[in-house]
Amino acid sequence: METGKLNPGALRKILFDCIASVAPEADFEALRTDRPWREELEIDSFDFQNILIAVSKRLGIEVPESDYRKLATLDTFVRYLAERMGAAG
């Protein structure tokens, strides 16, 4: 698990790794980070759950279901993780 302070760039890299573990063909260069990413990458709820499991393994953050709507774009997802990491540390 990652510890210590992580800047947004590092968090973003970790998030992309977690997504790529489920959707290895994802091209993050071509993806708009301010747009809904799940539809773009065809991530269904099972894939999404697996990505969140990967995130929790890397960062120790378990996202409650009530927060799922905060993860709609990659930008808001990273921001959410940063806030949770900040609150935890």
């Binding site: 290895p24 063909e25 709820s45 099972f46 759950q49 969140l52 409650p64 279901e65 009530s66």
Partner: protein
């Protein structure tokens, strides 16, 4: 003597390529045990055996292409005198018309070792999968404990020290393109048959999901991520219960007549990354608790996407559920997989203006559809089914009664 033969995993399947044995002569086998792996248009499939006995002789060899019904092995029945040449007799639940369904493993590493190796070592399924992933021929590996089957650790060790273990790369026997093409052909055959033979009728209804989604969130609030239930689990449960109420949609149409299935086995249409579709069947959805159903669904989807399905999961579904809403569509009207007689489709969860008790509110809703075979049922039956389905989903507390 019992003959263990190449199974039919669909009306359009003519043959399969034998990949490997997971048992050896002298082994005792039990019903439901996975004994070998075959490669079909539907991808690599683990084949179960439905007889008890002792393996007498292995006939099929890796790389053999065998027609459906060809003898792959000969068993000695536990309580049988030698010399009787029985056809393998699956349990009643298995002796049903075969649905034809396209499938393929996720576009990934080859699952078929190119060349047979004489005297293949025994190997655990997990180790075999890992070996295939790594492109290592298990025949080149040596178990750490003499006489024991190869374990995952043996494969990992070989991967870490390729020279010491003298591993060899295994070339794929079929290219990803060829595999994709074969799957396309399987889908084409099944869907053409459906469109040619089945006079479909379609019904649809929009139902309110607020209660179900709140109920689900409450259920999941105290659970770790991996144990959280998906909305799909509730939808599958509602389909299973509605089928118990309206069993005329649960079964197969074969030789001019509808045959009602004794239990509910729901094929879950699962699209694969990289293209294609598998529809493995989930049993006992009407019997399982929500945590059990969630676990089974997770296991099934994981194996479906990893190309590790079992023969029974690909051959005996009684209805199919598709969930294209996951890809943003509001509604989906499906094509029935013959010889099934119905397919249920769920769309995306959509917020809509909704009238409740004379007041206008914003409600979370989903569109549920039914495609049904008009030879087997009429619209009134389909309507009764969809009405029951909506009632279960709109009142989630009815999905799992306290006693079940």
């Amino acid at each position: 003597m019992i003959e263990f033969t190449m199974p039919s995993l669909g009306a359009d399947m003519e043959s399969g390529t034998f990949v490997e044995w997971l048992v050896k002569p002298g082994d005792a086998v039990r019903r439901g045990q996975v004994v070998c792996v075959i490669e079909t248009q539907k991808g690599a499939v683990e084949v179960e055996i439905w007889d008890e006995g002792v393996v007498e002789r292995l006939v099929a060899r890796p790389g053999d292409e065998l027609p459906v019904g060809a003898v792959m092995a000969v068993l000695r029945g536990a309580a049988e005198p030698a010399g009787r040449a029985d056809k393998p007799s699956p349990p009643a639940a298995e002796r049903t018309p075969r649905a034809s369904r396209p499938a393929k493993p996720q576009g990934g590493p080859p699952t078929t070792p190119a060349m047979p190796a004489a005297g293949r070592p025994r190997i655990s399924p997990a180790a075999r999968r890992r070996a295939v992933e790594l492109g290592i021929d298990p025949a080149t590996l040596v178990p750490s404990q003499p006489g024991a089957p190869l374990q995952l650790a043996d494969v990992e060790r070989a991967a870490a020290h390729p020279v010491a273990a003298s591993t060899t790369r295994v070339a794929p026997s079929t290219s990803a393109e060829a595999r994709k093409q074969a799957m396309r052909e399987a889908i084409a055959a099944a869907m053409s048959r459906s469109n040619r033979d089945i006079p479909h009728y379609y019904l649809g209804t929009t139902l309110r999901l607020d209660a179900a989604l709140d109920w689900l969130e409450a259920h999941n609030a105290t659970r770790p991520l991996a144990e959280r239930a998906l909305l799909a689990a509730l939808q599958l449960r509602a389909v299973a219960l509605a089928l118990r109420d309206v069993p005329a949609l649960n079964g197969w149409y074969s030789e001019g007549a509808f045959l009602q299935a004794p239990d509910v086995r729901i094929a879950v249409a699962t699209s694969l990354r990289g293209g294609g579709l598998v529809t493995p069947a989930l049993r006992d959805v009407d019997q399982l608790s929500l945590p059990d159903l969630s676990g089974r669904l997770r296991d099934l989807l994981t194996r479906a996407r990893g190309g590790q399905l079992r023969s029974s999961e690909l051959s005996d579904a009684t209805i199919t559920v598709t969930n294209l809403g996951e890809l943003g569509m509001e509604s989906v009207f499906g094509v029935i997989y013959p010889p099934q007689v119905a397919l249920v489709g769920f769309g995306r969860v959509v917020e809509r203006p909704w009238v409740a008790d004379g007041a206008l509110v914003v409600a979370r809703t989903v569109h549920a559809s039914l495609a049904a075979d008009h030879r087997a049922t009429d619209g009134a039956v389909g309507a009764r089914f969809l009405t029951r389905l909506a009632e279960y989903l709109e009142q989630p507390e009815t999905l799992w009664k306290p006693e079940s």
